[in-house]
């Protein structure tokens, strides 16, 4: 079966004051129907840009897709017209954002905002859309949906607002849901509820989920496969358990070990955390023909500075773009 979404050699360029920089550089991946895949990396590594590229929402006049294809259900989204993209967005692919505080319109009730999607994409009448909105609020487990449907966003808590966002995103039962750091602004107990909700709804509707996050714990809990992004390039890809057990890219290894995770067995002494020294290179460095992680890497050799590493494959479709992948 052909994958639902197939991205090949995608290159997204951003025009900045210093010239054109490839914020996504030769990215390929595929997503099967009903699968959950996760993008991980620090800020500025191109996770959100990938999502915006798929959605056709790159910042106008600044960002554009320079080359590559995004194949969705047999259709190349890079060549689709604006009108067609508008049909796909919300209907087939939808997105929830990091800030549930700012992504809802404060002057409309949440019921109107959910109903708008249904009226626009599914041609429902006012009454029917309103009723469906109540059903959707119930589906995202907002208590007393009949009364809450006429609430304004400011009357809801952060977790509830994110639930409303999920209701809007899932209103048309899309094939793909892109969740861009959906829980970063929320408390852990609320985060756990949102993850449960996404998992249940994904299973029920068969929605494929692209989860963008920087939290390896969330990845381990939610996703089947993960893609580690670094400086606009794919550093590593593979099944979640396998990558966490044995990462094949020094950056992945650093990302996992630099965070103090809650452990099952607790010891009295606390070892110093492994550091990934330095920071992500500036956008001006992107696109060089070298390993961009070299300046922060312990395994660096001359080879790393001379050419961009090729992907090396391991068992179960784990890939790492590192010259020293075998040694990690």
């Amino acid at each position: 079966m052909a994958p639902l979404l197939q991205v090949e050699n995608l290159r997204i360029e951003l025009t900045t004051r210093d010239g054109v920089a490839p914020v996504i550089d030769d990215l390929s991946f595929s997503l099967n129907a009903g699968e959950t895949i996760s993008f991980v990396g620090e800020s500025g590594c191109g996770k959100s840009m990938t999502a915006l590229g798929i959605m056709g929402l790159l910042p106008e006049k600044i960002g554009h897709i320079a080359s590559g294809t995004i194949n969705f259900d047999g259709e190349d989204l890079t060549k689709a017209s604006d009108v067609r993209l508008r049909e796909i967005r919300g209907n087939d692919i939808s997105m929830i954002f990091q800030e549930p505080m700012t992504s809802l319109n404060p002057v409309y009730t949440i019921g109107e905002q959910i109903a708008e999607v249904l009226r626009r994409h599914q041609g429902l009448g006012k009454r029917a859309a309103h009723d469906k909105a109540i059903d959707l609020l119930d589906a995202v487990r907002i208590p007393n949906p009949k009364a809450r449907v006429s609430d304004y966003p400011h009357q809801m808590s952060g977790g509830q607002r994110q639930r409303v966002m999920i209701a809007i995103a899932l209103a048309c039962e899309p094939k793909i849901l892109i969740a861009d750091e959906p829980t970063t602004a929320l408390d852990v107990t609320v985060q756990a509820q949102i993850f449960d909700l996404l998992r249940d709804l994904g299973e029920k509707m068969g929605t494929a989920i692209i989860l963008i996050t920087h939290d390896m714990g969330a990845v381990a809990e939610m996703a089947e496969r993960l893609i580690v992004m670094y400086a606009g390039r794919k550093a590593e890809e593979g099944p979640v358990e396998q990558v966490i057990d044995h990462p094949r890219h020094p950056y992945t290894k650093g990302l996992i070990s630099c965070v103090p995770h809650l452990m099952g067995t607790l010891t009295a002494e606390r070892p110093t955390l492994t550091e990934v020294r330095g920071i992500v290179p500036s956008i001006r460095q992107f696109g060089r023909d070298a390993c961009l992680f070299a300046s922060r890497c312990d395994l660096v050799s001359d080879k790393c500075l001379e050419g961009r590493p090729h992907e090396i494959g391991f068992e179960n479709d784990q890939h790492s773009a590192c010259w020293h992948a075998e040694d990690v």
Partner: protein
């Protein structure tokens, strides 16, 4: 308490209460929101106490009140034998040198118009404790201590990355040779890889300068790594207070258990061993807190008595305090 224990104790907070006046609704009495409600804890010299809780639980307000950055309605903050909340004038200025603050957001907590060296030097200038001639040497030493290069002293805050700015914030906090440093979410605004650098730095400095930390965080992984003891807050109250080992391995309050079980983990063993404890709904309205236990409406094991009377924070095992009706001297989790 013996003399020795007294000497070991650096900070002792007793019955601290912070309240904010709410807008009056019609005639009637003024109503108050008790952001911090009768909170007591103590920290030994050289140790780290973490206060954890979700947003709105009052952890940051507690820290601000201890540092006198918000007005405490009631309570005593005993810092090294003196009530910090009652000091006035010169005595207060002197005492402030002993207590410094590291803020959450390194982007807004540095004056954008001062050079990095001036930022670090400012507490020295305003406290006037060391002669002018020695101040530059202290700034130089601090820059090395927090891992910044000497030539970076002349730069402005916007020329630094987030992690470097937090280093400047730490150097500024160290300038007056404080004994207690309050770290209010010092790494939550930073990228994961940079977090590790700052956490390692904080622990190294603690050893070097014999610092005591009051560490505010919502990230339980970070807390587990940093602290010696933990206080868990919920709606302005401490619900559980214990040393690191017992809190993380044997949580007694249902809220603590729920909080711990909600943290996603990369450790497969832990993921399989923990059962997710769901706490549905939201905390009640803080302006009109319920009569009984504040957690009762979300608690999975709540009994009728829980909504009748408020549980006191009491010691159930050595050094382990819990505020829950369902936990007795046997110290068994009600879950």
């Amino acid at each position: 308490m013996s003399k020795q224990e007294q000497a070991d104790l650096l900070l002792k907070v007793d019955h601290l209460t912070v309240r904010f006046a709410m807008k009056r609704s019609g005639w009637g009495k003024k109503s108050y929101l008790y952001a911090v409600d009768d909170v007591s804890f103590e920290i030994k010299r050289g140790e780290t106490l973490a206060i954890v809780g979700e947003s709105g639980s009052g952890k940051t307000t507690t820290a601000l009140a201890v540092a006198r950055l918000v007005h405490a309605h009631e309570g005593i903050v005993d810092l090294d034998g003196k009530n910090f909340l009652e000091l006035q004038g010169e005595a207060l200025r002197k005492a402030r040198a002993k207590l410094q603050f590291i803020f959450q957001d390194p982007y807004s907590s540095l004056n954008p118009r001062l050079r990095a060296e001036a930022v670090v030097r400012e507490p020295l200038d305003s406290l006037d404790a060391v002669p002018v001639a020695e101040r530059q040497a202290i700034v130089d030493r601090l820059f090395t201590a927090v891992g910044l290069r000497p030539e970076q002293q002349r730069l402005f805050p916007h020329q630094f990355s987030g992690g470097q700015r937090q280093r400047i914030g730490i150097a500024r906090a160290l300038a007056t040779q404080p004994e207690l440093i309050i770290c209010d979410e010092p790494v939550s605004a930073l990228d994961v890889a940079v977090q590790a650098q700052i956490l390692n730095l904080l622990r190294r400095l603690q050893g070097e300068f014999n610092l005591t930390y009051l560490f505010i965080s919502h990230d339980l992984g970070v807390v587990q790594h940093m602290c010696d003891s933990v206080a868990v807050m919920y709606m302005g109250k401490i619900v559980e207070h214990a040393d690191r080992m017992s809190l993380f391995t044997k949580p007694l309050h249902p809220y603590t258990s729920a909080l711990l079980s909600a943290v996603p983990s990369v450790d497969k063993k832990r993921r399989e061993a923990t059962k997710r404890i769901l706490i549905p709904g939201d905390p009640p309205d803080p302006v009109n807190p319920p009569k009984g236990c504040r957690f009762a409406n979300r608690c999975p094991v709540a009994q009728p008595q829980c909504s009748q009377s408020e549980p006191e924070l009491s010691e159930v095992a050595a050094g382990h305090k819990v505020a829950c009706h369902l936990v007795d001297e046997k110290a068994i989790s009600p879950l």
